[in-house]
């Protein structure tokens, strides 16, 4: 492990994390920065201990989803719905800076653990609530899932093939956006508290973050009255309606090549592609003669030339692999090519290896070390640290309840028996 001796970006702010699903990312990011994040699960374990599983063994202790988003946190179990559990929770809140949660709006209020209640116990507490639509308003109590929230942000509508239903990204994203927003909101509130001594309630809406990736398509409607039509990857030129193909099949999958003209850097990139094709004897005469400035200008060209160019390029890409097209085409020849990477390609990627991206964390209980995504960003003075794997169910109960709250052994046993912890 590297840089373990360096300081952390954050002091050990105590964060209680009650979130589920992708929202768990928020606490993970704060923990990476140095906060002391305690994951609180219901007795028996969180429903977010889902698949895929380590070596395909279906076991809540082997959930890769759980591992990915709870590394660097400690973990305890607690039933906050029962009186004794609530009391323990309040004891924890007294020693905490912030609480993160993703329950349905009103659930914590119903348990008398809402923002006003927590504020009475600890006046400068920060409560960060991450929900599909926010705490108030006509959709606050909508039944929702990652997919339906994604749908509410219009970005789903923009993705997928034109002749079928719009499609999401098969690994759910809305909860992760919510988690990341929760982390920024919490840090913003901590900065404010450090300046003023004042805590507050941070109200995250996943719908709003699902609107974020829309680039300019909302404004296309609002400003120009233009409706966006999804194209499943082609490049659509609004002024002419022309679709320029930019995804091409190759020997082991697909690549994107920004085959475009009109402007730089596209003209030069496309010319370099044709030169390469010609060297390999795969550029038809008309393509070699094509003037990328005049004949392939998105604002004046027609569909037939786009289709013709697309077919010629694909005949070439079919003779090569993603890696060949990327290494020789993009890196050596400076053509605007990107591989459509799968999880294997990413895992074997040279750049990530060269920057020492991947981190290994010890899972002593499994007698194994597991590879994780590396630091989410590089910080020169305070490099992010990978200190511990995600907690087992109730792994730190003794440490936190016993050593920190000073609860006796007998009392802990009795709480366990009653399934409070």
């Amino acid at each position: 492990m590297y840089h373990q001796e360096a300081e952390s970006t954050l002091p050990p702010y105590r964060i209680l994390d009650l979130t589920e699903g992708g929202c768990m990312l928020g606490g993970r990011l704060l923990a990476d920065l140095g906060a002391d994040v305690i994951m609180i699960e219901p007795p028996g374990g969180s429903p977010s201990r889902t698949g895929p599983h380590y070596k395909n063994v279906v076991d809540p202790e082997k959930s890769l989803f759980w591992w990915a988003y709870n590394a660097n946190k400690r973990g305890i179990t607690l039933d906050i719905a029962r009186a004794e559990g609530r009391k323990l929770f309040k004891d924890l809140v007294r020693k905490s800076d912030a609480v993160l949660e993703s329950f349905e709006p009103g659930y914590l209020d119903h348990l008398k653990l809402g923002y006003p209640d927590l504020g009475r116990i600890k006046p400068d507490i920060i409560l960060t609530s991450i929900t599909p639509f926010g705490q108030n308003g006509p959709k606050a109590h909508y039944q929702a899932s990652d997919l339906t929230v994604w749908a509410s942000g219009a970005y789903l509508y923009a993705c997928g093939n034109p002749d079928r239903a719009p499609t999401w990204i098969s690994f759910p994203q809305a909860g992760l956006f919510g988690g990341a927003e929760g982390a920024i909101g919490t840090m913003t509130a901590i900065w404010h508290r450090n300046n003023t001594g004042e805590g507050q309630h941070v109200d995250v809406s996943m719908q709003e973050s699902a609107l974020s990736p829309n680039l300019n398509i909302l404004q296309m409607w609002d400003v120009s009255g233009v409706e966006f039509h999804r194209l499943g990857g082609a490049l659509y030129v609004p002024s002419t309606g022309v679709q320029q193909p930019i995804y091409f099949e190759c020997r082991d999958g697909y690549v994107m090549i920004l085959v475009q003209g009109g402007n730089e850097p596209f003209i030069s990139s496309s010319a370099r592609l044709v030169k390469w094709m010609a060297e390999e004897g795969m550029a038809p005469e008309w393509l070699v003669r094509l003037n990328w400035t005049l004949d392939y200008d998105a604002t004046t060209m027609g569909q037939p030339i786009a289709d013709r160019v697309g077919e010629a390029v694909e005949r070439f890409t079919l003779t090569r692999t993603k890696a060949e097209l990327y290494e020789e085409g993009a890196i050596k020849r400076q053509i605007l090519i990107a591989p459509v990477s799968n999880t294997k390609d990413i895992s074997e990627n040279l750049q990530l290896k060269s920057r020492d991206y991947w981190e290994k964390l010890d899972h002593a209980d499994l007698d194994d070390a597991v590879v994780y995504c590396g630091p989410f960003i590089r910080m020169s003075e305070t490099p992010l640290k990978y200190q511990r794997r995600a907690p087992l169910i109730g792994e730190h109960n003794d440490e936190i309840y016993g050593e920190e709250l000073g609860i006796s052994r007998e009392k802990l046993d009795s709480l366990k028996e009653k399934r409070i912890i």
């Binding site: 990011l29 759910p172 920024i184 507050q200 996943m206 680039l215 398509i217 999880t343 995504c373």
Partner: protein, 416 residues
Amino acid sequence: MNGNVFDGLKVAEFAWVIVGPATSRYLAEHGATVVKIESHKRLDTMRGTSPFANNKPTVDSSMAYGRHNPNKYSVSIDLQHPNGKKLAWKLIHWADIVTESFSPGTMEKWGLGYEDVRKLRPDIIYLSSSMQGRGGPHSSYAGYGMNAVNLCGFTEVSGWRDKRPAAPHGAYTDYINARFNALALVAALDYRRRTGKGQWIEQSQFETSLHFFAPPLMDYQINGRIMGRDGNRYPQAAPHGVFPCQGNDNWIAIAVLNEEQWRNFCQAIGQPHLAGRKEYATLPQRKKNEDELEKLVGDWTRCLTPEEAEKLLQKAGVPSHIVAKPKDVYEDIQLRERHYFVPIEHPVMGRQSYEPQSSFILSKTPRRIKRPSPCLGEHNEFVFKNLLGMTDEEIAGHIADGSITTELPGQFKVSM
């Protein structure tokens, strides 16, 4: 009224296009002063990106640029000009935070890289964001958001099994990266407040984005499984998908996450007997018979508008939402309640709706959009005179020698 969280915080934004500008918006919406360093000689790509207000493409009328830059000030400087560099240094001396998103080596070439800046401003927080980071064989790889979505694996897992992948639209990962950056900046501020020390935050957008794809990567590295695409299906739910409704290209998203919701769903579609059918009785059964199940759901949704279907399903407690089109979000009752769209008068574009970048509302210090996106160089006088204390003569000198740019070198050209 409470003050804003980041009142007094100063950001010099050399960053352009999307990632950097979206990052600083979190700070600007909560009180920071953000000055964009632009140039007539090297236009921010977004200024040439449609849509243009009143259908008049000019350097100041793109709402694609507008969307990513409200609340900020704009100055126009030629960074290749020695006197332009002097202005850049004045801004760096003024700032708490510097952001840049050029290809690695560009700021260094101009003598404005982190190592140069650190010598004079050891407390500066300096963010560099690039597609693949510094060092390594692919560092110089040309960075477009459209490339990154493929490189980072999101395209491969989007679309249908029997078709080629359907890339998520636009510059998807840019919107992931901005969030991680904003978090790192506030954390670095916290560190500086305690220690007085600044630092360099160096982002590879590739590395950052993978955190939105981490479990499938672990699944490959541990189990050897390569994730593919499967429409809108999801292993832990059925039915789970996007279903056709009445009208042209109208859809509803439905997710049945547990047995109670399945029973409610059967009630809602007027076929309570389905809940008792063996082939749909459990999640594994429904997954096994998912093709027929989806046909059955589609037969029901096809007879309704998306709004009708959503209403019936929500009433029954089934997760569902219309697949909103751009026009729908402007009428969305929930977004209205949260004042998501903020109408502001822009000097060239007229009244425009701006969106917040923060998807959160702080109860005591809420996000605010107070000013429209800036025209190019609109705040040269305000920034150089009021913020930096320069005299009129000094500013006039910079205009005369071209280090403050005032005119496009050629005709304005639309890029997209």
